[in-house]
Symmetry: C2
């Protein structure tokens, strides 16, 4: 079969345990034997079996990634790849691999996590998807399994999470519009099933309040995180009201909102100003280029991974959270009124 630690041991005339120590770079081992062992590894092309290693050491050096339930959502919105990019950079630096398991529905997702956790396939998990109804978090907490969450969970007690200040970000966006003289400001977001949508709605309301602008529920709509979702939401609003500006909590949705406005005979930004969220690469090249809130997606990934690794290094690390800053990117989709 393949060359094992025993073969190397024979070649080097030492015990397998010594070879193991050399691999682990154990300090108390003489230079001479270390050399000899390395030589004995070279020629036959020895490489440690990670599986056997994991079994014995109970360390896998791999991080589990739980994507949003539908692979559709997971990979079609640039948000997730960008988060993964952040995670993978950190993981790579620390010599961790990434194990990904997609799932179609809630039950499958649960199974995927159980499989990773109870199957001992990963050392820790990053949850890319925090729904308000998530039962994964309580389960992981109960299992005392190391994990971090991207997006503040509804019940964040005892869990480590990374997120933006979503209330603040939304308030920032809304205030920007208000300062540009807008008063009829619509708010379009994804499902309120997501904490992030809830928080951003709150930020929007907050900004209105601060400026004594009444909240009008006909100016608010939710829909899917997609171009079509944005289109439909905007259309629903336009049937009842005529906002002069709109806050859209996702750039992809913004594209749909723009299309809806145009279909409705409105020009952007002359008739409707628009501010998006996420600052995806293409929003800069939209027509008009999108003013948007950059939520530092990449950083979200980086921090979530760093936090997880910190936990792994110090098992009884206290529950903690990290707020990643946002930044308003001014482009051409908003004008003064």
């Amino acid at each position: 079969m393949n060359v094992t630690i025993k073969d190397v041991a024979q070649r080097a005339h030492v015990a397998p345990s010594t070879v193991s120590r050399v691999i682990a770079d154990n300090p108390r081992i003489s230079k001479e034997t270390k050399e000899r062992v390395f030589k004995a590894m070279e020629e036959p092309g020895y490489y440690p079996n990670a599986i056997a290693r994991s079994l014995a050491s109970k360390m896998t050096y791999t991080i589990g990634l739980i994507m949003p339930r539908s692979a559709e959502d997971a990979f079609s919105n640039p948000f997730f790849p960008e988060v993964m990019r952040g995670i993978s950079v950190v993981a790579h630096n620390e010599k961790y691999d990434l194990l990904i398991s997609t799932s179609g529905n809630e039950e499958e997702e649960k199974q995927a996590v159980i499989n990773m956790v109870k199957g001992r396939k990963v050392d820790g998990i990053v949850l890319l998807c925090s729904r308000t109804t998530d039962e994964l978090i309580p389960w992981l907490r109960e299992e005392k399994f190391p994990f971090t969450v991207i997006g503040k969970p509804l019940d964040s007690k005892g869990v480590c999470w990374v997120d933006n200040d979503n209330i603040g970000a939304s308030r920032l966006a809304t205030n920007y519009l208000i300062k540009h003289g807008h008063k009829e400001i619509a708010f379009i977001s994804g499902s309120l099933e997501f904490v992030v949508s809830l928080d951003r709605l709150d930020g929007y309301k907050l900004a209105l309040e601060e400026n004594n602008i009444p909240f009008v529920k006909e100016l608010v709509a939710q829909d899917e995180f997609s171009e079509d979702g944005g289109y439909n939401a905007m259309m629903r609003i336009l049937k009842q009201k005529k906002p002069t500006a709109v806050v859209v909590t996702d750039d992809i949705m913004s594209f749909g909102v723009i299309r809806a406005a145009i279909d409705y005979g409105l020009r952007v930004p002359q008739d409707v100003s628009l501010i998006g969220f996420n600052n995806i690469p293409l929003s800069a090249y939209a027509n008009p280029p999108l003013t948007t809130i950059d939520i530092s997606t990449f950083e979200l990934g980086v921090k979530s991974a760093e936090l997880l690794l910190k936990i792994l290094k110090n098992k009884d690390y206290m529950a903690d959270h990290i707020i990643v800053p946002v930044k308003l990117i001014e482009r051409k989709s908003c004008i003064k009124r």
Copy 2:
């Protein structure tokens, strides 16, 4: 520690091997004991340790994914997430996990693969990146390790790969432009280091030849697979020639080409027609909506995974390849001349 197969065996008053057989759903096992074992698994919450399982059975039920060298490229171009989506759907159906390992440079990439292969962490590998200079393919072939490649490798002898008919696709695109009355047709692609760029250039030339249009090398440019890359390539061409149409082998680059044209005072499609490649989600919402070649990115992922699984199921499966069809999506970026 955690509950193991032995604990279950004791509870059910059977031998560990019997429990193992129940897990493996071995046919020759009585209904009664099977029931009893299942019961004994329930209460203490037994779950098989995948690592131990792998060590004993030499099967990991995970597929390794080798992304393009820079995580940058890997996740910023929608092509790769979409491919991953295809792969993950198939993997999920067959109860395989995905192990991802990103890498910064060629050396790291090699290490990542060695780590997966010699570390016995995966059963097979899908290469998402076939550079013409790739030394990974010969290595994997020599190791007799199961793998498939997305994109036809330069030396495809004895390797299983999945790709479009790139020559045909490019010829299709070019002919479309020619049929619309264009004769001054530019060709912008990524680096010729990629086989795909080479093939598409050939297809372009082929179409010109068929129509007795001379090949003009000033009308051809290569650059990075990015918006900026497209912009720069187009600018370089415009400084020498004034094409009435251009074939761009990547939608992201197309956005840059459009921007360059506009900066140069040209309207799209009135002054320059444009046909892209990949049909990424947002190309439909570009301005103008992009006419493009849909290369069935998702299918590319699906087929590569299916092919790999076929190999895994039948170790001495013959080298084979799969051509995934392309489709021309007509939108608004081309006009008759």
